[in-house]
């Protein structure tokens, strides 16, 4: 053990023993994060595949259920998430420049926007609860023609937005960790990998919503 440590020259605190240098470590983290996001694409892809099949089978029922989606809240939430992506980018930029206060400020802003999204999502879910649109034994649907099909579509709605919301909650947790780390002066212009990685994750979760919003809320809405 002693002689293997002599291989590694004096290195920054964040450099782990098994990497040769910081550049290799950063490249590995970045590639790892992108590969992880690919797995996430496949994860959501299964549900998007199911959505495609049922939309092809039951277009009329889709048009019918989209009238019960709260487009106003959905649109506001879309704006909120786009803004949060912007503040996340600014946080990464501040990290590159080594501006500690700005990192914290933008991360907190991103976190707050994420919480606004989740709160509005909760309001929407509550509406669905009141209207008996939660799939399961209590499900009721006004248009008898689509009673069964609508339940499947609401099932997809809850599965897709629910999985997205879980990812948002995880993201909020990760942002909290980042804020604590930034407060402890862990980041510098030379090392801010976690900010950048969680930034990638946050953008990915936003992009999922950018697809969910038109697919679930807008398609067939005007029919």
């Amino acid at each position: 053990m002693a002689d293997s440590e002599t291989i590694v020259a004096p290195h920054p605190r964040e450099l782990q023993h098994h990497f040769d240098d910081s550049a290799q470590q950063l490249e590995s983290s970045t590639l790892g994060m992108w590969v992880f996001l690919v797995t996430e694409v496949m994860f959501f892809g299964g549900m998007f595949g199911g959505y495609t099949v049922y939309r092809d089978l039951y277009p009329a029922a889709f048009a019918s259920t989209s009238h019960f989606m709260n487009v106003t809240i959905g649109a506001i939430n879309t704006g909120v998430l786009i803004c949060s992506s912007f503040t996340m980018v600014l946080a990464v930029r501040s990290a590159q420049l080594g501006q500690k206060k700005a990192i914290i400020a933008f991360l907190v802003l991103t976190l707050l926007l994420g919480c606004v999204f989740l709160t509005l999502k909760g309001v929407e879910y509550h509406e669905k609860w009141v209207e008996h649109h939660i799939p399961g034994p209590g499900f009721q649907y006004a248009d008898a023609r689509y009673a069964h099909q609508a339940q499947i579509l609401f099932f997809l709605y809850f599965a897709m937005t629910g999985m997205h919301a879980i990812h948002m909650i995880v993201g909020v947790g990760l942002l909290t960790v980042l804020i604590v780390m930034a407060g402890r002066n862990r980041f510098s212009g030379a090392w801010y990998t976690p900010v950048e990685m969680i930034g990638l994750y946050w953008h990915f979760v936003d992009i999922i919503w950018i697809f969910l919003f038109p697919l679930l809320y807008l398609i067939g809405h005007t029919q």
Binding site: H18, F139, H148, I152, A159, M163
Partner: protein, 545 residues
């Protein structure tokens, strides 16, 4: 500096095994070699659990009337499938030999994300415990394929726990694959170009691609199944407009590529064994390397051949049939190239090579019968018969388990610093080969004659072949128990192994001691020659085929 160390006793030198002791140094280790051993022991345990269910099934099929009730038999084959597929075959070679060898073979000190590597083991254990809980609480009877709507609505067994176990366990597979991909891209030693990578690494790279792209889909499939089972919204229930075939598509989108997760690492091991014991460079390095990637890519396009009789469009079936034939091409390239490697080589018959011979023969039978199943007309005749069972056991057990045992024997000196007893090992390899064929060859005939899978009872005319199969299974079980005993003994008492007992090529043999130190190499390795340079020639990597 010195490539071949003098005979050093294991205890004299600090290595990854004796660097520290105590349970904490194992349960909190981030050393890829120790994590490989954690996986090795837990996977072996699951192998014997899954094997116990197989014993139950074979006992039941000894007589036409059966021994157990239908319900019990349904649970036996389901739990056998779930444990063997998700908790043995999928992680077997990648998580043990792959974990141990990928950094060693490319000259790295560890995997790119050592803590994630440890996390993957804990996730595996968590998933395994959930699945075992399902067993202890009474089991599952849906078959390992969980077809809806039976699994979602009608089965009154512990589907939720089993599906949850698979969902959780899948993330360990994803994290292992992610770790390998990043490690192979970013952690190679100076001079270790893509064209010089051992084929073991190419095989694991291809496996990792499938793990990363496929496993998330089974995860979401299990989530949808769980939600449907709780809510009964009818997602997969045709009586209210749901589409049960959609479930089959989602399931096989992962589970067919998953059979390549199970076989590609086996092929990766065989490439190492065949070259070493033929004392020759692999025939057609580029073809063997790229065929792994081709299998990974094509493997994602053939899942529909599981749905030939499920009401899938005829035209889709034709496309899937054609693509299934196509995936046989890269597999065949591998078999041809291994054979050509042996041609005019100095072939010797140590235990790992015996397993390699077993693999090549049995995989070829398993692969060729796969072409029968890719042919739509024949598939209709043998769908859900023992022909299918025999086919995939020739690939999974005759192929993968053979490769796994061959690999364990080959790298046992590197892992433990001890030699195994060659005589016993050869004997066990022959017992496994004989037992395997006696178990599964009769099943080809049974299936062709029309005996369906997943039934506890059968007509009396099938009894002779079933008795043969059960007898073979008993021999096979003994064949698996013998290595358990002598390998355990050899770990403590075997003769001390030199650094490179096989005179094999590769960084793990030529530049790392047996067992390796904590950070693998005493000096940072530099690679100056292509893989498998057994002829010892100074040569540049060829760019052509």
């Amino acid at each position: 500096m010195s490539a071949i160390l003098p005979f050093a006793s294991t205890e004299a030198r600090t290595n990854y095994l004796n660097v520290d002791y105590g349970w904490k140094s194992w349960l909190f280790t981030t050393d890829h070699k120790r994590i490989a051993l954690l996986y090795l022991f837990s996977i072996t345990a699951f192998f014997f659990v899954g094997g116990a269910f197989a014993v139950g099934m074979r006992l039941n099929l000894l007589t036409p009337e059966g021994l157990f009730s239908h319900d019990t038999y349904n649970k036996l084959f389901t739990m056998h499938g779930i444990i063997m597929v998700f908790f043995f075959l999928v992680p077997s070679i990648p998580a043990t030999l792959g974990n141990f060898l990928v950094p060693l073979m490319i000259g790295a000190r560890d995997l790119a994300f050592p803590r994630i590597n440890l996390l993957s083991w804990y996730i595996y254990i968590a998933g395994g415990i959930i699945a075992l809980t399902a067993i202890v609480r009474g089991g599952v009877d849906t078959g390992w394929t969980f077809y809806a709507p039976f699994s979602a609505t009608y089965s009154n067994t512990h589907v939720i726990l089993a599906a949850l176990g698979i969902f959780v366990g899948g993330f360990s597979s994803i994290l292992t694959g992610l770790n390998f991909i990043v490690t192979i891209h970013k952690m190679r030693a100076p001079g270790m170009t893509w064209g010089r990578l051992p084929l073991f690494i190419w095989g694991h790279y291809a496996t990792s691609l499938i793990q990363v792209l496929g496993t998330p889909v089974i995860a979401i499939t299990m989530v949808l199944l769980l939600l449907e089972r709780v809510l009964h919204a009818g997602l997969f229930d045709p009586s209210v407009g749901g589409d049960p075939v959609l479930f089959q598509h989602l399931f096989w989108f992962y589970s067919h590529p998953a059979v390549y997760i199970m076989i590609l690492p086996g092929m990766a091991v065989i490439s190492e064994l065949v070259t070493c014991f033929s004392r020759k460079a692999i025939f057609g390095y580029n073809f063997v390397a790229i065929s792994s990637i081709a299998i990974a890519v094509l493997g994602f396009l053939v899942w529909g051949h599981h749905l030939f009789v499920a009401g899938q469009s005829m035209y889709a079936s034709m496309a899937f049939s054609f693509l299934s034939f196509l995936v046989a091409v890269p597999s065949a390239i591998k078999v041809f190239n291994w054979t050509a490697t042996m041609y005019k080589g100095s072939v010797s018959f140590e235990t790992p090579m015996l397993y390699a011979f077993g693999f090549i023969g049995l995989f070829t039978i398993g692969g060729l019968t796969g072409l029968f199943l890719a042919t739509m007309a024949i598939d209709v005749h043998v769908t859900d018969t023992y022909f299918v069972i025999a086919h995939f056991h020739y690939v999974m057990v005759g192929g993968m388990v053979m490769a796994y045992l061959g690999g364990i024997h080959f790298w046992f000196p590197k892992i433990t610093g001890r030699m195994y007893p060659e005589g016993w090992a050869k004997f066990a390899a022959l017992v496994v080969f004989a037992g395997f064929n006696l178990t599964f060859f009769p099943q080809f005939i049974l299936g062709y004659q029309g005996m369906p899978r997943r039934y506890a009872h059968y007509p009396p005319e099938f009894q002779v072949l079933n008795v043969m199969s059960t007898a073979g299974a008993s021999i096979l079980a003994i064949g698996y128990l013998i290595p358990m005993i002598y390998l355990t003994w050899a770990w403590r008492k075997g003769p001390v192994a030199p650094q490179n007992p096989w005179n094999a090529k590769g960084l793990e043999w030529e530049q790392a001691p047996s067992p390796p130190p904590k950070y693998n190499f005493e000096h940072p390795p530099v690679v100056t020659e292509p893989a498998y340079n057994y002829s010892g020639e100074e040569q540049e990597v060829k760019s052509g085929g």
